[in-house]
């Protein structure tokens, strides 16, 4: 379990670093891009060192310590990325740095996430890289994220970014509908907007239209207090049966798989 956890953390962190080529700038006169690349390289080197130490030690306490460092080390780096973004607000590295902070803060709760989102919304809303950021932020339910998604919906010139922001915001409204009356209606409206305007935008292994249509159906029909929709399908032996065959019984429905 632990090895699995570490490797998934690593995968995500490596994914954060792979989009950029390492710059080899001289010590004097470093471009913001070079500074960004060096910080990413430094971060990655520390990660690799940590995962090596993790594999090599048998000491449980030491492993706990390393794991903690791996999940929180981004906090030490994000102020430096924020510095680059504020020193060179118009550079490509500014966007890269801000995106880095947000994705990292997503995992470790960095307090630089809010300011980074504000800067992205104020200065870089036209950047096409915001599309994938809006996808990553889907499940980070905060007011800062919602404000950011709304700015992207309103002002991004990129259709895929607007569509994905719309879908992520719909999801957040759906998930907070129990706590905040009114969000259910907002969720339905946003999902409908995705179905109407962004259906063909590709999303993960499918497209936004299918995902939003599914979510819209579910948010209207599958919830506590609603009659469960009928299921008619084969069992594992190929024999067809129905959920309604079990009417009159209390039923636990378990979406499962052996993995």
């Amino acid at each position: 379990m632990r090895v699995k956890y570490i490797s998934s953390v690593l995968l995500i962190l490596v994914a954060l670093t792979t989009t950029d080529v390492f710059g080899q700038a001289t010590e004097t006169d470093k471009t913001p891009e070079a500074q960004y690349s060096e910080m990413v390289a430094e971060f990655r080197a520390e990660q690799l060192q940590l995962s090596k130490s993790f594999r090599e030690t048998e000491d449980k306490a030491e492993q706990v310590k390393i794991r903690k460092r791996m999940t929180t080390m981004g906090l030490d780096y994000s102020p430096r990325f924020l510095q680059v973004a504020t020193d060179y607000p118009d550079s490509k590295a500014a966007v890269d740095s801000l995106v880095w902070i947000v994705q990292m803060g997503n995992r470790s709760g960095s307090r630089d996430t809010g300011p980074a989102l504000k800067l992205l919304a104020e200065n870089h809303v036209k950047d096409e890289r915001l599309a994938s950021l809006c996808r990553v932020l889907q499940r980070t339910i905060t007011a800062d994220v919602q404000a950011f998604l709304q700015v992207v919906i309103d002002r991004s010139p990129h259709r895929d970014a607007r569509g994905i922001a719309c879908f992520s915001l719909a999801y957040q409204m759906q998930k907070t509908a129990e706590r905040t009356p009114g969000n259910q209606a907002k969720a339905e409206k946003l999902y409908q907007q995705v179905v109407d305007d962004y259906a063909d935008v590709s999303y993960l292994r499918g497209n936004l239209g299918d995902r939003a249509a599914g979510a819209l159906y579910a948010t209207k029909n599958i919830g506590i207090g609603k009659i469960a929709p009928e299921i008619v399908a084969e069992d594992l032996d190929g024999v067809k049966f129905k959920l309604s065959d079990y009417r009159g019984k209390v039923v636990v429905l378990d979406f499962w798989g052996d993995w």
Partner: protein, 101 residues
Amino acid sequence: MYPHERSLVKRLAGQPFALLGINSDRDREVLKKVMEEQGITWRSFWNGGSTSGPISTKWDVHSWPTIYVLDHNGVIRYKNVRGERMDEAVDALLAEMKKSK
């Protein structure tokens, strides 16, 4: 998951209760072997061999496992209750059902 669900099914044998799966594994034959080894006796709908099969797509399920508990009228009453909370939910619905008769 399996040991808890096994004991729930065993405890409620003979009661108006059913545990039903919606299974998203790829290979039914491999799965049946696992089920035999693990003592999984409850029936499952086949989601077509994929986590993006027709049932999970319609139900908008994108994380596993996802649990729904339905009362005897087919109304969804609980979502994602695990362990003891699953037992409590089922017991409460069984009691409610007896009372309503």
